[in-house]
Structure formats: structure tokens, C-alpha cells
């Protein structure tokens, strides 16, 4: 069975009417040291008004997938070697640079992890937002400014009018992140990709930002892809979760199922490694070993050297991402056993 079979969940092969679909995507980086197979068949989708959380360890390919969706993959050294990224059913990987540029901002927008480097330090925050309205919407200078101030106000930057002419470095970390959000939702995108939007912030400010994103999403019925490795944030806001390991989706489930009963040993290991307020004094359970070297991914299941459940078959056969029902899928040979045991 191919991995694609998991994508068209009904197996009928007709267009699914989905907003954004990544289908069996493959990306590699060709560097002096060799070829790193970074994305090895990633399949996920997001619909209007829903939040898909993409979870996974550092280096598992979360950001590279997002960059490919946005059409900003660093090429070379990065190359797409297979798969499709469909927006409203059309494969964007086959579209012209001009077509893709038009989708960016209005169709799909992205919030970057590092707001300081994503904002241009030599222009004021207000100008950077207003420019979008001038260039993309043809607004006059004064109308664009008015809209930009509205946007800053909407993301709850106090005294938005006065802040319009501040430079990025004059904003605090939390305010910069809000300015980034203002910039990315300015053109009312249908899909928002938020790559670790709160990692650099502390919990009280993080709570403000996640609230804000939730509100904007409800108002505008945006589809949201939230990339993070914070299992706490995910439990708070996600509808569905896709777990990545070594460039593949190893598990997909709705948020309640995933936390209650993970269907992949890697997910189980992640959940067990979180320090819990109520388990003080006990040794934390860990996932032994390290993530694989992407230039030399182990044969069979990429997780097998670290997996407590591994069997000989795991070293030989790549487990396909198979549906388990209720929108759940797992890429483990023993997924059924894992879900059915208590």
C-alpha cells in the first residue's frame, strides 16, 4: 500500500474540496557533505476554521515543509523531489513564480519564529504593514496608513497610532510578535502558518498571543497550521495534530485521541517525557538515544533504534501511514496493538 492512500481518506481519488493539502511531499538538501533527505513523504491537510498542530523534534522537518508550502524553500541546496502541495485543489508546485507570489499573503501567510529577523530593521513597523496595502491593494498612502494602524490596533498594540512610526527594535518581544501577526493577517489570508509563534516569549505573553490568534481565526474562519514542540500549547488550541519524525508524519489524530491514547511509540515517548506538576520526585521517562542523521536514515522504521517496541520487521519494512478510523492514522507496524492495549 502506498502512503498516499492515507491522504485521500475516502480512497475515491476525487478532489477532496480541501483548503490546503500537502501530499506525499519529498524534499532533500544537497550539500557538500552529502544529500540530507529532510522530507520523506509528508501528508497533511487543513480546512477552513480549523487548527492543525504540527509537532516534532528539532530537525524533523516542520519548518522545511512550511517553507515549501510558502514557496520560499532555500533552493539550492533544497530541492522538492516529489509530491504535491494543493491549494483549493491546485498543485502550487506546478504554478509560476508570479502565481505563487499572488497566493502569498492573501491565500497563505506565515508567522515566523524569529520576529526580529523577519521584520526589516531599517523600516518602521507601520510602514512595513502599510506597504502591503499599497502594493497589493492599491491603496493611497494615507488610506494604507489608516489600515495599518487598524491592524496594529487589532493585534492589541497599545497606542497603535503612536507606535506606527516605531522601528522593530523599539518594540518588546511580545509586541514584535504581535506586529508580525498584524503583518501576516493584513491581507486576510485563508490559511495562516504559525511557526513557533510564541517560543521566544514567556507564558503570560504567550497566553495573550494564543488568545489573539484564536480570536482572529474564529472571526475570519482561517485555517491554521501551528508548528510547535510545546505539548502544552498544542493541548490548548489544536483540533488535529500531525506528529513528525525524520521527515515523515508518524501519527495523525484529533487532539483528544492523541493525548488519551497515542498510536505511535514516538508520540507516547514524547508525552511521557514532559515533566508533570503532579509527578514530582519521580524520574522522568525518556526516549533513549538521538534523532537520526538525515544523511543516513536507518532502514525500515526510522524510529526503530530508539523504539522500545521494535521487532525485527521494523528494521526491514517502512511502516506506511495507515488509517485507524476516526481520522486517526499511524505509521507503526504495531499501531493496532498500541491503541488496543490498556
Amino acid at each position: 500500500m502506498s502512503e498516499q492512500s492515507a491522504a485521500g481518506a475516502d480512497g475515491s481519488g476525487r478532489p477532496s474540496g480541501r483548503l490546503l493539502e500537502v501530499d506525499d511531499l519529498r524534499v532533500e538538501f544537497r550539500t557538500r557533505d552529502g544529500v540530507a533527505k529532510v522530507i520523506n513523504g509528508v501528508t497533511y491537510h487543513v480546512d477552513a476554521g480549523e487548527t492543525l498542530a504540527v509537532l516534532g523534534e528539532s530537525g524533523s522537518g516542520k519548518s522545511v515543509t512550511a517553507q515549501t508550502i510558502m514557496g520560499i524553500l532555500d533552493t539550492p541546496p533544497g530541492f522538492v523531489t516529489g509530491g504535491e502541495v494543493r491549494f483549493h485543489g491546485k498543485d502550487m508546485l506546478k504554478q509560476s513564480a508570479e502565481q505563487r507570489r499572488r497566493i502569498r499573503g492573501e491565500g497563505i501567510a506565515m508567522i515566523f519564529q524569529d520576529s526580529l529577523s523577519a521584520l526589516n530593521p531599517v523600516f518602521t513597523v507601520g510602514f512595513q504593514i502599510a506597504e502591503q496595502f499599497r502594493i497589493r491593494r492599491g491603496l493611497s498612502r494615507s488610506d494604507a496608513k489608516k489600515r495599518a494602524i487598524e491592524m496594529l490596533d487589532q493585534v492589541k498594540i497599545p497606542n497603535a497610532k503612536g507606535r506606527f512610526s516605531n522601528y522593530p527594535h523599539q518594540f518588546s518581544g511580545g509586541m514584535r510578535q504581535r506586529a508580525m501577526i498584524a503583518m501576516s493577517i493584513a491581507l486576510d489570508p485563508e490559511v495562516l502558518i504559525a511557526d513557533e509563534p510564541t517560543t521566544a516569549l514567556d507564558v503570560t505573553v504567550q497566553a495573550q498571543i494564543m488568545d489573539l490568534l484564536g480570536e482572529l481565526q474564529r472571526e475570519r474562519q482561517m485555517g491554521m497550521i501551528l508548528i510547535t514542540h510545546d505539548l502544552g500549547v498544542v493541548a490548548d488550541v489544536a483540533d488535529r495534530i500531525a506528529v513528525m519524525y525524520a521527515g515523515r508524519i508518524v501519527e495523525e489524530a484529533n487532539v483528544y485521541d492523541l493525548y488519551r491514547k497515542p498510536a505511535h511509540p514516538y508520540t507516547l515517548g514524547l508525552l511521557n517525557s514532559i515533566p508533570r506538576m503532579d509527578e514530582k520526585g519521580q524520574e522522568l521517562r525518556t526516549i533513549k538515544g538521538l534523532p537520526p542523521n538525515l544523511m543516513n536514515i536507518p532502514p525500515g522504521c526510522a524510529f526503530n533504534p530508539r523504539c522500545p517496541m521494535a521487532q525485527p520487521v521494523c528494521r526491514e519494512t517502512v511502516p506506511p501511514l495507515l488509517q485507524l478510523g476516526h481520522g486517526r492514522a499511524s505509521a507503526c507496524h504495531f499501531a493496532e496493538e498500541l491503541v488496543n492495549r490498556d
Binding site: 528539532s58 511580545g174 503570560t204 497566553a207 505539548l231 502544552g232 498544542v234 493541548a235 490548548d236 493525548y259
Partner: protein
């Protein structure tokens, strides 16, 4: 009675803010740490939490005697560390070690792991005679769970979690009594973070170490700490046993902080009562008068702008809190997964 190994008294560290290139003029001060007092007992872990920029790393640097305090004292076994010199200072430097946040930049990339971990012996040759050093380094590698055969490798050949272990081995080389850990697991993935936390606990049990454990992740701090101090804008606002802080916090900032901790359990989403703070943290150059938290506090009264609340035990509570109106409040922090 366990003895205090470190006593911090009214510690202040200000950094001048200057203007002008040729004639630098001081136009103000960053009040990074502004009157902090606490004790560290032998064998205990004191957790320090607080928002970014509240002065945690500054506190660590002053504790390590890497920077002189603007005012106040750090006493190590009763001796003021900023007054030590010569042999006494060298002995102190052996006893307090630092593990830093960033496992990627805190190790010299041109030194092998053996040289990195053995470097402290060059400065303190009395700890290990030259001939025995290689073996000592191998023992240390083994102690922190790294392969002693990898003694000749360079830092870039290790992952983040492994590099953090190298940093820990290095800190342990001189058999210190105290290790100051400044965000030792913040840059690591959950699965690797858990490995390093287990290691720190194991080493404490085996070697009787005391830790000052700085972090912004409240679950991590709770897991490791006996007592916890909460900082806000250069001040300690509440301090107590981990139980007192996590189960019975009385300072509004601590309450807000705990209420906002994301809980890894989707079933408590709806029932969680997050205290939503307004606005951003004020600038440490001109902190608010009176209580520094008042610009974001939902309980603030006139007195909060006029009088600095002291860090003291008030009637009806069992541990020190720097709030005029300190009181308990129910907070839903459930980390239980069915």
C-alpha cells in the same frame, strides 16, 4: 539544621545606560537586579523563575563572582565573595560552577571534549595531577552518560543534549559544592530535556550538590526544586517551598504565571481559568514606583503606587510574598492525564 552554603543579602546590580559615542554620558540605569535576598542550603535545589529580562542571568553572574554587585552581598559560607582575593578566591572558584543555557555557543569549537572537560584542571592543578587527568576526564564522561571513547571528538560532533552533558561534566570536574544552572534545558527538545533533568537529579543524589536552577519553564522548575523564588523586574516577589509556591501562591504575578502554564491535557481546556494580564513588562530602566507589578495587576490600589511591598510573611499565609494584599487564590493547574 542544615547550614546555609550561600546567603544573598540585598543584592543590587545596575548597568549604566549611556548616550554619545565620544563623551559617554550616563542617562540612566538598567535595574537588572534590585534588592534580592535569599539563602541556599547544602544539598538543596533553589529554582528561580520569571519572565525574560527580569534579571535571572544577571543574578547568576553575580553569584558566580563574574560581576561585582552594585550593592549588597553574596556570602559563601559566611564570607563575602566580592572581598575574596588570591588563594581564597581560587578556592571559591572551585566550589561554585556554572552551566549555561546555550549548549551551542558555550563550548569552544576548536577544543576537543577531553581538553574542554580537562581545562579546569589546568587552572586548579591541585585537584588532579597531570598523569591522572585523562582518566579523570573519562570518568566524568561516563558519569554524565557520554561514551569515554569520544574524548577526542569536537563539540560539533555532538547533539545539543550531548553538548549540554559536556557542559555539565566540565562544571563537575572540580567537584564543586554548588552549581548554578542558567536555563540548562531550555534549548533542548522535550525528549532530550528529560534525559538531562534526570542526570542532574542523579548527580545531586550521588554527589550532594546544591543547585541554583534558573528557568522559565515552571513545570521543569517544579520537577527539580525544593524551594522556588519568583522574580519580576529585578525583584523577588515570592519565595517558598515548591508546594507553597505551586499550591498556595499568594502574589498576583505568581498566580498569573501559574494560571498561564499550558497544560498538556486537552480535556482541561475549558475548565482552565487563565488570569489574563494586560500590557507588557515595563522597562527596567524606569520601573513603576511602589510595586513594580502594579501596571499589570488587577488588584492594584493607591497604596501600591506609593509603597514598595516588602517580601515578608503576612497574616494568613505561610511564606514570604511581596504584595500588600497577598492572599491565596484557587488556581487550576491540572497536569493529570487520565
Amino acid at each position: 539544621m542544615t547550614e546555609n552554603i550561600i546567603e544573598v543579602r540585598d543584592l543590587v546590580k545596575h548597568y549604566p545606560v549611556t548616550q554619545g559615542v565620544v563623551f559617554k554620558k550616563t542617562i540612566g540605569h538598567v535595574k537588572a537586579v534590585d534588592g534580592v535576598s535569599f539563602d541556599l542550603k547544602a544539598g538543596e535545589t533553589l529554582g528561580v523563575v520569571g519572565e525574560s529580562g527580569c534579571g535571572k542571568s544577571t543574578l547568576a553572574r553575580v553569584l558566580m563572582n563574574l560581576e561585582k554587585p552594585t550593592a549588597g552581598q553574596v556570602l559563601y559560607k559566611g564570607q563575602d565573595i566580592s572581598k575574596l582575593s588570591g588563594g581564597a578566591l581560587r578556592r571559591l572558584r572551585r566550589q561554585i560552577q556554572l552551566v549555561m543555557q546555550d549548549p551551542y555557543t558555550s563550548l569552544n569549537p576548536r577544543m576537543t571534549v577531553g581538553d574542554l572537560i580537562g581545562e579546569p584542571f589546568e587552572i586548579h592543578p591541585e585537584v588532579a595531577p597531570r598523569a591522572s587527568r585523562r582518566n579523570k576526564v573519562k570518568e566524568l564522561l561516563d558519569l554524565v552518560g557520554l561514551n569515554p571513547e569520544h574524548i577526542n571528538r569536537y563539540p560539533h560532533q555532538f547533539s545539543g543534549g550531548q553538548r549540554q552533558r559536556i557542559g555539565i561534566a566540565r562544571a563537575l570536574a572540580l567537584r564543586p559544592e554548588v552549581i548554578v544552572c542558567d536555563e540548562p534545558v531550555s534549548a533542548l527538545d522535550v525528549s532530550i530535556q528529560a534525559q538531562v533533568m534526570n542526570l542532574l537529579e542523579k548527580l545531586q543524589a550521588e554527589l550532594g550538590l546544591s543547585y541554583v536552577f534558573i528557568a522559565h519553564d515552571l513545570s521543569v522548575v517544579r520537577h527539580l526544586s525544593d524551594r522556588v523564588a519568583v522574580m519580576y523586574l529585578g525583584k523577588m516577589v515570592e519565595v517558598g517551598t515548591e508546594d507553597e509556591i505551586y499550591e498556595r501562591p499568594t502574589h498576583p504575578y505568581t498566580q498569573a504565571l501559574l494560571s498561564a502554564v499550558p497544560v498538556p491535557d486537552p480535556t482541561v481546556r475549558e475548565s482552565k481559568a487563565i488570569i489574563r494580564l494586560q500590557g507588557d513588562v515595563p522597562s527596567p530602566v524606569s520601573p513603576p514606583s511602589g510595586c513594580r507589578f502594579r501596571t499589570r495587576c488587577w488588584k492594584a490600589q493607591d497604596v501600591c503606587a506609593q509603597e514598595v511591598p516588602l517580601l515578608e510573611i503576612r497574616p494568613g499565609s505561610d511564606h514570604p510574598s511581596a504584595c500588600h494584599f497577598a492572599e491565596k487564590r484557587e488556581i487550576v493547574v491540572t497536569h493529570e492525564v487520565a
